[in-house]
């Protein structure tokens, strides 16, 4: 009886949170939990706000810019002490900057890859160059952010010293995740209708997409997991934070949604070399800087096989895949990733700092 009533209680709380998020418009920056690692906002322009995290003791010359994904709030990268990628990197002595993407309003529906890559990411890089007095920076992207860094590096290769892509959706011709079959059945007309009706792809639709990837987990299993792990120290707090992040979806700008769906997912244009941004072909062969492609072996959002092939398409001589036995989100929050993966990433960067 205790099991049923407790799970029902957790389920009701979850339902209330979802209703509340739906009413408030999901990922509003004002509702972020307090940051684990202190930062200052050093730039705001376009749809990006740039955060600066100072290292505990600076040990590396080249600053690092983290480009976060556009669809949820970035606090997952700085979730809790001991479970924070940002904290790990500043403790390793890196000067860290991170993009905090602002939710696009209807008037921003024109924004596509060009606005985000040649506008916002390029501006963020320029701020680092000016602040740090350097020509080249280290660039790292997570998920959709990794895709943006890849496009940026291909178009502006001179500014990037080292590139790290984490769980990058590169080869979207891979259909190993059954959910992707649903992406195939959404026609170009349907995408046009979404952008015509809502302007952007609404946050609730983005959230619905995530829930559809694992419906049983979101409908029941996570609440049962909350009950089963209840006695574990810190689990309840972590669960709350994680749930907060799960409903922090942001709208995807209309043009970007169109380009992602039609060019990246359906036509696999990046891998096929057909992608053009502002009339310029995205040629991955122009990426010649060292590349570390971090792949989560149990990733159920971007299949590992969608990421692995990237190294074969870039022009770099110094390039490698780093596979780690974790999931898409585990790569940035799990104790194993924070303890083992991120020191390796830091080491890779440190060796290429000269």
């Amino acid at each position: 009886m205790s099991l049923l009533s407790e799970v029902a209680g957790f389920w009701m709380e979850g339902a209330m949170r979802t209703m509340e998020a739906f009413g408030q418009g999901y990922g509003s920056p004002q509702t972020d939990p307090p940051a684990t690692t202190p930062y200052e906002v050093v730039y705001e322009g376009g749809m990006v706000r740039l955060r600066h995290y100072q290292p505990v003791e600076r040990r590396h010359k080249t600053p690092l810019l983290i480009v976060y994904a556009l669809i949820k709030r970035p606090f997952i990268l700085d979730l809790q002490p001991g479970k924070s990628v940002v904290e790990s990197l500043v403790q390793q002595g890196f000067e860290v900057y991170m993009t905090d993407w602002l939710p696009p309003a209807r008037k921003d529906s024109w924004r596509g890859f060009d606005a985000y890559v040649n506008g916002d990411v390029a501006d963020a890089v320029r701020v680092l160059q000016i602040r740090e007095g350097t020509e080249q920076i280290n660039l790292m992207g997570y998920c959709l952010g990794a895709l943006l860094t890849l496009l940026y590096t291909s178009l502006h290769s001179d500014s990037v010293k080292n590139l790290i892509t984490l769980t990058v959706p590169f080869d979207m011709g891979v259909r190993d995740l059954p959910f992707y079959n649903l992406v195939d059945v959404v026609s170009d007309d349907a995408v046009e209708l979404v952008t015509r009706i809502y302007g952007n792809c609404p946050a609730w639709m983005v959230n619905g997409g995530f829930n559809l990837m694992a419906p049983m987990h979101h409908a029941l299993d996570k609440y049962v997991g909350r009950y089963r792990n209840g006695p574990r120290e810190g689990y309840a707090e972590m669960f709350e934070l994680f749930e907060h992040w799960m409903r922090s979806d942001m709208p995807l700008a209309g043009q970007l949604y169109r380009e992602m769906h039609q060019l990246i997912f359906k036509r696999n244009a990046l891998k096929n070399g057909d992608l053009r941004i502002a009339d310029e072909v995205v040629d991955l062969g122009r990426i010649t800087c060292p590349l570390l492609n971090v792949v989560a072996e149990q990733d159920d959002v971007v299949h590992p096989r969608s990421s692995f092939g990237l190294v074969e398409h870039v022009g770099s001589e110094d390039k490698r895949n780093l596979a780690f036995p974790t999931g898409h989100i585990g790569a940035v929050v799990s104790a194993g990733a924070i303890g083992k993966l991120w020191p390796q990433v830091g080491q890779w960067l440190a060796e290429r700092d000269q």
Binding site: P29, Q30, L102, P103, D123, R126, P178, F179, L182
Partner: protein, 180 residues
């Protein structure tokens, strides 16, 4: 598809083993006084986990089915078209009605809402400033900054300068660059 079916068969066999053999066996032991609660609980969770795996595989099978996929796509598109037609009809009807009785139209409300969101963002950024300004109160004047930043080649650059120190350092670097 055949891969999905074989996975499903595996998960089903695990589920039947856990739910119809292991669990009743542990419950029987409790009845005869030879079992213990912890083993029964463990068998129960094993059966639950196996059931979740079956449900996940069934979901995957549904997603992989081209007929169900095609129908889902059709339903989605139809729902969107209905939503568009409904929106257009409501706009045609209320678009004339509201202004005649002095009320705003939907698009005007959307525009106001968007503007409010932008203002909320700006207010939040502004609210974060007093603390930061206090941190940098002991430092020199920032009057020269805007002029210096004009030199930077940025698209729509706006320096928020939360505590001043970092911006000043970089501004000096820019000055040095310009001098060089």
């Amino acid at each position: 598809m055949s891969g999905t079916k074989s996975f499903l068969a595996q998960e089903l066999s695990k589920f039947f083993e856990a739910a119809w053999l292991d669990l009743p066996a542990e419950a029987g032991k409790i009845l005869f006084g030879t079992g213990d609660d912890s083993r029964l609980r463990k068998a129960g969770w094993k059966a639950y986990d196996a059931w979740i795996s079956v449900a996940n595989e069934l979901t995957n099978a549904v997603y992989s089915d081209p007929i169900i996929g095609g129908a889902t796509g059709q339903v989605m598109e139809s729902a969107l078209r209905l939503r568009q037609i409904g929106g257009a009809m409501a706009a045609a009807f209320f678009g004339n009605l509201w202004p005649s009785i002095g009320l705003p139209t939907h698009s005007e409300m959307v525009a106001v809402r968007d503007e409010l969101l932008v203002l909320r963002e700006e207010l939040a950024a502004y609210a974060a400033r007093p603390l930061a300004a206090a941190n940098s109160a002991d430092t020199d004047s920032q009057d020269a900054l805007p002029g210096i930043w004009k030199g930077a080649q940025l698209n729509g650059y706006r320096a928020t300068n939360c505590n001043g120190n970092g911006m000043r350092r970089s501004a000096n670097q820019v000055k040095r660059d310009v001098a060089a």
